[in-house]
Amino acid sequence: MAALLPLAFLGLFFAWPVLAILSLGLREGGVLTALFDGETWELVGFTLGQAAASTVVAVLAGLPVAFVLARCRLRGLGVVRAAVMVPFVLPTVVVGLAFRTFWPDGGVLSIVLANAFFNVAVVARTVGGLWAHTDRRAEDAARALGASRPRAFLSVVLPALAPAIGSAAAVVFLFCATSFGVVLVLGGSRYRTLETEIYLRTVELFDLSGAAALSLLQFAAVLAVLVLGALARRRRETALSLRGREELARRPSGGEWYVVFAALAVVVALLTPVVGLITRSLSTRDGWSFAGYAALATRGDRGTLAVTGFDAALNSVRTAFDATLVALVVGVFSAVVLVGLRRSGGRIAEVLDTALMLPLGVSAVTVGFGYLVTMDALPGDFRTSPLLVPLAQALVVTPLIVRMVLPVLRAVDERLRQAAATLGASPLRVWREVDLPLVGRSLAAAAGFGYVVALGEFGATSFLARPDAPTLPVVIARLMSRPGELNSQMAYASCALLMVVTVGCVLLIERLRVPSSGEF
């Protein structure tokens, strides 16, 4: 029964609109022609290839950061935790431009690095979440048995973290496979992916059947990857003995310092484009100036915007809040259902698990146009409702929350819940007394992360946001598309504002402790 809420949400705001727009394309015919076009398959190859490469880079860069966040007791870790999140919210067009200062002609390498840049946070967060709770004793035991540190890592730690790494990799892969702005800006006109081509065909060429064909391919590719990921995850998410972070975090020693330095290098690399961006927000043709920041209180050069930069920031904060709440409700429900289903029979759980991830693998433009042709059937013509923005954002955030909470939730020994039940706790009470405190930290982290994703979401938001209520990313894109030095400076200043808002929100959310979770 509880499975109904997530399914209803997905069905109403994802499956229905997407299927509707696809069927429009399919009715036009010509899908087969597109499928048998050699160029189509080149697109598929490049899309998957760059996504895979980006995922590998993001995982490699994210692991040391995850280690430091989860295991080290160091000063200023809170700032690192927040700083890692910053790239995630930056508008792709801005990051694309930042990368182009290093690679003026773009190219595959810059695409891969930029995609990884955005997604290091996913790995650091997801893996760090589980790592922070994983018992250190198994690792210590392996070391005591004579395993070298790398060996102990490979044979003990890595397998224990596998579910989280698998989860993170799946999410990152989906993000990279559907990354739009990065490929557009850095791919110049030479490199195209399914995502950019779907956009082009839908929006510019009105080739709905071609777009449908490509969407189906994207769907199939995403599904294949998800199924592979699910197979890899299967039986990995076993009961680990979860521990509080405070017990596990300690000052790094010996070789661990190399990992700390590697993490530091990653963080510095992540912050380089950020610093470049701030520099640009301050420099003009005539020297340094705060004009861009001053302009945040205005509506841009000659009223480019319908609201001021600060209003947009407020609107961003509010919309992301709604989106995160919806996603938390749906995501936590889904995770609980998934844990329960797995207990009673794996098939449905796996299907639901995979279905929940699909929104990450579908073009925002497909969903957006899908809304146009379906949402008028909801009472009150939902197509133009301001509520559609947080709901669409929640669609992207929910899978992330599920992916972050699920591994930890599954790692909770079922018998702990049973013990609580025999002591008189009703199922809801068991959730509150056992699951919530044990996954509390992960849940808070997931909420913070989801919030940041919602803050930075551009694709669906730009399609759905109303002109009098734009979010910061929408405002930035708009300012960038206008001539005039002030507009471009204000765009960079808005990026800085977005980063400040992000870091502020992350720090705030991290402060919130889930009730009764204590120091766990």
């Binding site: 949400f9 109403l12 429009l24 067009v93 694309g96 431009l97 182009r100 003026p104 002609d105 557009l184 800006v185 791919g187 110049g188 006109s189 030479r190 950019t196 082009l200 839908t202 929006v203 510019e204 060429l205 009105f206 043709r285 000659r302 009223g303 480019t304 319908a306 509010r318 809040f321 709604d322 709440l325 919806v326 409700v329 146009f369 146009l372 042709v373 008028d376 909801l378 009472p379 009150g380 013509d381 939902f382 133009t384 409702s385 301001p386 509520l387 709901l391 730009s462 399609f463 946001a465 109303r466 002109p467 009098d468 708009r478 960038m480 598309s481 206008r482 001539p483 005039g484 507009n487």
Partner: protein, 329 residues
């Protein structure tokens, strides 16, 4: 917390949220536009006071996205009147029957010069020209004056253009070269451009904000862009391609009578007087004064290139494909 319940309740139960009602008796008209639509502060309030009509805006995407939205929702449109379908997409919108016929009394005061066809369904609101922009300071006094000049070795590695597949000024520039050199000559021209080191990027943002500001002092932009740069750049007026932006009342508009008044407003004197300042385009109406800086920095090109809308619609994909093979192959 209350907000979340509002959201969930709206989804689960009624879906009724405040402000989505479109009943005609409220005198509310929904104006659907692309995201570059800007109107001067106070003007819509003034209109509301004069007519009792509240204009609600829905704005997103570019002209292409807007046109596609209108086509997909033509049976149950998301608004009553639309602005922003341009000459590249006009044929399609007309062929799909998105717009209703309405002979606006304001449409004969200059707008008729740019009309897409004679059916009175789309009316020109503004015109904008895509032209090469140059940064004279960086060119050191040697300035290109025509399309042909760009193939001169003097300007080797100086030009950046947008990909016509992903950018509307990029497409306009390509169409301009096709209009200029003919369907048989444009490919040869582009071959020469390529030999002379033309750089292709995917969007105006990168071309203008990055390359043009760095080491590519010739860029494809708008005739009006120099007005935003305080006279530091200028447009090459012999390399312009004209784009017209249209407005029309939607066929299934719920509030067609009021929508017609909004269309009259878009073509009327007050609105036309501020399009240059607000949207960097030239008014379609005759006798509307341009801002002072425009006369100096951004005069309207006298004889821009253009192609018939039908021809663009029929050949666009093939041309872009040929261009892609030629320039990037």
């Amino acid at each position: 917390m209350r907000r979340i319940w509002a959201v969930l309740a709206a989804v689960a139960l009624t879906g009724c949220s405040a402000g989505t009602s479109t009943a005609p008796q409220t005198h509310e008209v929904t104006l659907v536009t692309h995201d570059s639509f800007v109107v001067k502060d106070g003007l819509l309030d003034e209109f509301q006071k004069a007519t009792g009509i509240t204009v609600k805006q829905i704005a997103s995407g570019d002209a292409g996205e807007l046109t596609n939205k209108l086509v997909l929702t033509k049976a149950n449109p998301i608004g009553d009147v639309a602005f922003g379908v341009d000459s590249t997409f006009a044929s399609r919108a007309l062929a799909e029957g998105v717009f209703a016929e309405y002979a606006s009394p304001e449409a004969t005061k200059g707008a008729q010069r740019y009309q897409a066809d004679t059916s009175n369904r789309l009316h020109a609101v503004d015109v904008g020209d895509v032209c090469l922009n140059i940064d004279p300071a960086k060119l050191g006094g040697v300035e290109p004056a025509s399309y042909e000049d760009l193939t001169d070795p003097k300007f080797k590695d100086k030009l950046v253009v947008e990909n016509p597949a992903t950018s509307s000024p990029g497409l306009a520039f390509l169409l301009g070269t096709i209009a200029k050199f003919g369907e048989n000559g444009w490919q040869e021209y582009w071959t020469k451009l390529k030999a002379n080191g033309v750089k292709v990027v995917s969007g105006w943002e990168e071309a203008y904000n990055q390359d043009f500001k760095a080491d590519r002092p010739i860029v494809v932009s708008y005739a009006s862009s120099p007005s935003a740069e305080g006279g530091k750049t200028k447009a090459v007026l012999s390399t312009c391609y004209r784009q017209v932006e249209y407005a029309g009342v939607l066929s299934k508009a719920k509030n067609a009578a009021d929508a017609q008044k909004v269309l009259d407003f878009l073509l009327g004197e007050k609105f036309q007087a501020q399009v240059a300042e607000q949207m960097y385009v030239y008014p379609s109406r005759e006798g509307v004064a341009l801002p002072e800086s425009w006369a100096k920095d951004a005069p309207l090109p006298a004889s821009p290139q253009s192609l018939p809308a039908d021809k663009v619609k029929d050949n666009r994909e093939a041309w872009v494909e040929q261009w892609r093979k030629l320039v990037q192959g």
